[in-house]
Amino acid sequence: MKDSFFRSMTWLHTWVGLLTCWIIYVIFFAGTASFFRDEINLRNQPAIHNVQAQTDRVAAQRQQIIKGFDYLNQHAANSPSWRITLPEERIPYLVYGYAKPKEPGQRRSQFVNTQLNPNTMQALPPFVETKGGNFFYRLHYQLYYLDAITGRWVVCFASFFMLLAIISGVVIHKRIFKDMFTFRRNKGTRSWLDAHNLSSVLALPFHLMITYTGIITLIFMLFPYPALTTYDKGMRGFFNDVTPSNNVTNNAQGSADLLPINTILDHVYTKWPSADITRVQVSKPNMAASTVTVLVSPAKALRDQSPRLLFSGATGKLVAQTDDELSSSKALYESLNSMHTGRFATPLLRWLYVLGGIAGCVMIGSGCIMWAKRIRERNKGKASFGLQLVEGLNLATIMGLPLATCAFFIANRLLSPTLAGRGEKEVTAFFLAWLVVALMALLKRDRLQWRVMAAINALACLSVPAINALTTQGNIVSYLLNKQWVLFIFDAVFLLFSILFLVQTEKLRTASSASKKTANNLTNNKKRQKHD
């Protein structure tokens, strides 16, 4: 019984892992990059490279909001909505934006944004169109070139498979504590197994947490039935119920001047004296039905939805607000969500999340390589179609994604700033680079091909900071001297990966010459034996 249970778990672990490992690798890779979504946005937008973080950020917020209202009243008094986005710890600039009236058939209004340096209150140079970190964020949970809902379903199923693989992996790893700190070098598949086990065990709590909470983030798509049976309007009704919305002034007719924002801010600071306001939204400004929504940062609380207050724009009366004390179910959902995103994590915790993400990539990558190596050994070098497919997908995914990422960042620097659809072209560069690697993997998947890809990746990683230095005013040295840590670390990470890929190229070269020597020795020995 025990043996058959162990065997079934091994079978389960192998197949749930193998069937989805490449898609899970993409999800983990993009998710890991998404932890630095704001930093990637900053790097991809040269206009904000020299904006210094405000020292008295929270204290300056009141004046920034008042000036924003004056600006928007002057430039877009009749716009359907306004948005003032204040600088945050990881977002150094200020945005005053207003919506253009919707065109027929348009789902969402297009915003006209003016970005300002909060230290000088001067407008920043025009922003270039870029997908930035949002590309990796969307790729992480809804993939790309797929309908959003279909993409999310694929990610959901992959996450379920991942969860099954983790649990069955813990069950079959008999020596989980005995082998905890063990890595046997140069032992063929044994070394791959050690790498797989080690990367799984060292971040096991992270892997479990991130996979489980990942499923929870999409729970209303997976399990909508309680909401569907309770609310007449289905999921929409449910979301309306849990999001504070304006039911008071919605039907008011005619125009009415906006109340001075100072009055509304007084209310906010009375309720939350040390409020760190992140955004102010005004709907239907200068109308009787207008509302002013003030969103504040939840700071260190495990809460995904920002606490907010909704005021009538005409009277200044508080019309709705988020709950101060969350119900237990809402608190559970919000805490699991914010654990997954790590949105309010400190820089230290953010790096530890990234470490967990990298461990996840190593775990998945070593798992699929190990499977292919074992089957090749078992078949004594002969490769079936299935094995060739797995080997090809391994090469395309593991070596293709880093190259595609480099292509994305290089395209961001090389594409003309005025090019129409520039953001989408960065994404095209990403997928084209990946496609090239996939085609190469289709032709050949041997050690030489891995070596070539490692060398190409080393060069590509080196190109990212090099091209940045040639196309912008800064470079890794100036970033270090000017204490522009985000930009410095970004370039340094690419240089580090370039070195790692070079080491891999060299390792693969010595490994192939060693195996050639062994093969030659074996043939010579056989010849000698025959001769004797």
């Binding site: 905890m180 700190f181 060292l202 971040a203 947490m209 609380a301 495990l302 230290l348 530890l352 967990g356």
Partner: protein, 113 residues
């Protein structure tokens, strides 16, 4: 400083867990540990890791448990590198680790006075 103390306690705990294993103990001290030594190492390591968890949760509130998980991952990675690639440096590393615990703890006490 409290984060440094929590992390060094976590690192110390995993170093202890590794040393409690006969094979790793032999790598460092060229002899196998006695039953008493193994048990002592395990007890000290458990106390150290629980202290690390306590400091993380008390100071970081909601994200404390996550920070602790991150510290555990990083500690296991560092210990594995030392025990598999740079065995000779384990003794100075352990000494440095203890020094770090002592100095960060002392600084915290001084700051709170």
């Amino acid at each position: 400083m409290i984060d440094l103390l929590s992390f060094s306690l976590c690192l110390f705990a995993f170093n202890g867990f590794a040393l409690a294993k006969p094979a790793h103990f032999k790598t460092v001290f060229t002899t196998r540990p006695s039953k008493l030594q193994s048990n002592l190492l395990l007890i000290v390591s458990w106390i150290s890791i629980l202290l690390s968890l306590l400091f993380c949760v008390v100071t970081q509130q909601g994200y404390g448990a996550l920070l602790f998980c991150g510290f555990m991952g990083l500690s296991v990675l560092i210990i594995t590198i030392f025990y598999n690639f740079i065995e000779k440096l384990i003794k100075p590393f352990s000494f440095l680790n203890m020094l770090l615990i002592g100095s960060s703890g002392l600084l915290l006490i001084v700051n709170s006075l």
